[in-house]
Subunit: 137 residues, 4 copies
DNA sequence: GTGGTCTAGACCACA
DNA sequence: GTGGTCTAGACCACG
C-alpha cells in the first residue's frame, strides 16, 4: 500500500486515506479479498493516531468498499464495482489540472513543468528513471 | 480575480482562497497596490459566508501578502517578495505527486499519464497543440 | 449630560449611551421636554462616530424615551414613566455588587474599597471633597 | 470555580469568563497548577456554546494566565504574576465609577449611595454587619 | 457601503 | 473523554 498523507493540505487525514484506498480498490490494484494493512502498523507508518486509521476503515466499510472481520482484519469486498477506464481518467484529469493551473499561476513554463512530472514519476518508480522514454519530449 | 472553489475537496474554503490569491500576487497576476474584491461581493459570487472570505483576507494580511484598511478595502502590498524559483517548484511538486500517486492507485500506466498531462497543458494553453509551442523553446 | 463611555468594556457604545440617557430621563435629571445634545457635538465630545450617537438616539426614540423633530433636535418625551425609588435602587445595587465582587476577587479590603468609593464620589462632584462626611469610616 | 454570566450586560460572554478567571488566578483563589473546568462541562453549566468557553481559554492562554494541553485540559500557570496593588485599584475604579455615574443619573444622593455600598459589603461578608468587622481593623 | 467581532453548530485529531 | 478548526449568521463601528 502506497499511501501519501499531506499534513498541510487541510484535507482531513482520514479522508485522504479513504480516497487512496478506494481508488486502489476500484482500480484493481487491491484485488477483492486482499487483506488491508492492520490499523496499528499503518498508523505507525503514516505517523497518525490509530483512531484516525480506524475512522478511515469504518468509513470504507460504510461505503461498502471493504469488510472488517473482528479479530481477523479488513479485506477488500468482492462486489465493489470498479471504475471504468473513462471514470479513472476523469479522476486523474482533475488532479492533473490542479497542478497545471498552479504551474500557470506560478509562471512555471511548460518545459520545467514536464521535467518535474518525469522526475516525480521516476521517484515513485523506485528511483529508476525509465530511460527508454523521451523525457525531453 | 477569478477564483475557483472545490467544495468537495475537503480542503478548507478559506485556504483555497488564500492559496489562489497568494499565487496570483506572487506570479504578478495581481500587481502591488491593486485592489482585491470586497469581502461581501466575493462571498456572494463564490456562494460562501462573508466570514469565510474575511478569514482568508486576514490570513493573507498576516502573511504580509495584502494590506487591509477597514472601511476602504484590501490591497496587494508593495513589498511582497515573489516566490523564488525553488519555492515555486516545491509547491508544484506536492500537486504533481498527488496526481502521480492517484495514477498509480488507478493503475494508469506512465504512457497514458503523460499523454493526459500533455493534453491538459494544451487545454490550458487555449487549445494550442504542443507542436506550435515547441517552436518558441 | 454627564456620559461616560468605557471603550474597553465590550459593551456596545451605542448601548452605553442609551442606558445612561434613559436612566437620566427616568430619574428626572432630564425633565420632559428638555433638549438632548445634538449628535455632532456629543459625538465629538465622546470621541465616537456620529452614526453611533445617531443609532443610540434612534434606539431611544424606538423605546419611547425621546422624540426627534427633524431640523429641531431631540427632546425627552412627556409620557415616559419614571423609575420608582425602589427600581432605581435595584439598578444601582447591581452595579455596586459588580464592584464589590471584584474587590473580593482582588482581595481589596473593605477599608481600601470605601476609600476608593469616596474618592470617586468626590471626583464626580467636581473635585470638591465633602469633608463633612467621614471618609475613613 | 463559580462563574456568573450576565447575558443582558452586552459585555461579551467570553470576556466575562476571562475576567473572572483572571481575577481568581491573580487573587490566589486559583492556585498555580490547579486544573480549570473542562470546556464542555463549563459550557453546559453556563448554558453557552462550547466555542465561547474555548475562546475565553484561548485568550487566557495568550495572556499567559493559563496553560492548555490538548487532550489533557487547562491549568493555571506557575509564573503568573499577580496584580500589583495599583493595578487592582485601577480595575476597581472603573467599576466604582460606573456605579457612581448611574447614581448620578438616577439622582440617588451621596448618603443613600453610601448606605447601599455598606449594605452590599455586609451582604457579601456573609451577612456580617459592619460593626463586627470594624473590630479587626 | 467597508471590515471586524461574538456566538454557535458540526467536524476533526488525539488519548 | 480532551482541545482545535471551519463555516455561518447576526450585530457593531465607521465612512
Amino acid at each position: 500500500m502506497m499511501i501519501r498523507i499531506d499534513f498541510k493540505s487541510g484535507k482531513p487525514i482520514y479522508l485522504q486515506v479513504v480516497d487512496q484506498i478506494r481508488y486502489a480498490a476500484a482500480s484493481g490494484q487491491l484485488r477483492p479479498g486482499a487483506a488491508l494493512p492492520s490499523i496499528r502498523p499503518l498508523a505507525q507508518e503514516l505517523r497518525v493516531n490509530r483512531n484516525t486509521i480506524a475512522k478511515a476503515y469504518t468509513e470504507l466499510e460504510n461505503q461498502g468498499v471493504i469488510e472488517t472481520l473482528a479479530g481477523k482484519g479488513s479485506f477488500v469486498k468482492d462486489n465493489h464495482s470498479p471504475f471504468t477506464k473513462q471514470a479513472k481518467q476523469k479522476l486523474l484529469v482533475g488532479e492533473i489540472d490542479q497542478a497545471v493551473v498552479t504551474a500557470h499561476h506560478l509562471q512555471v513554463d511548460r518545459e520545467t513543468f514536464l521535467r518535474l512530472v518525469h522526475e516525480r514519476l521516476d521517484h515513485y518508480s523506485g528511483g529508476t528513471p525509465e530511460r527508454k522514454r523521451k523525457e525531453s519530449k
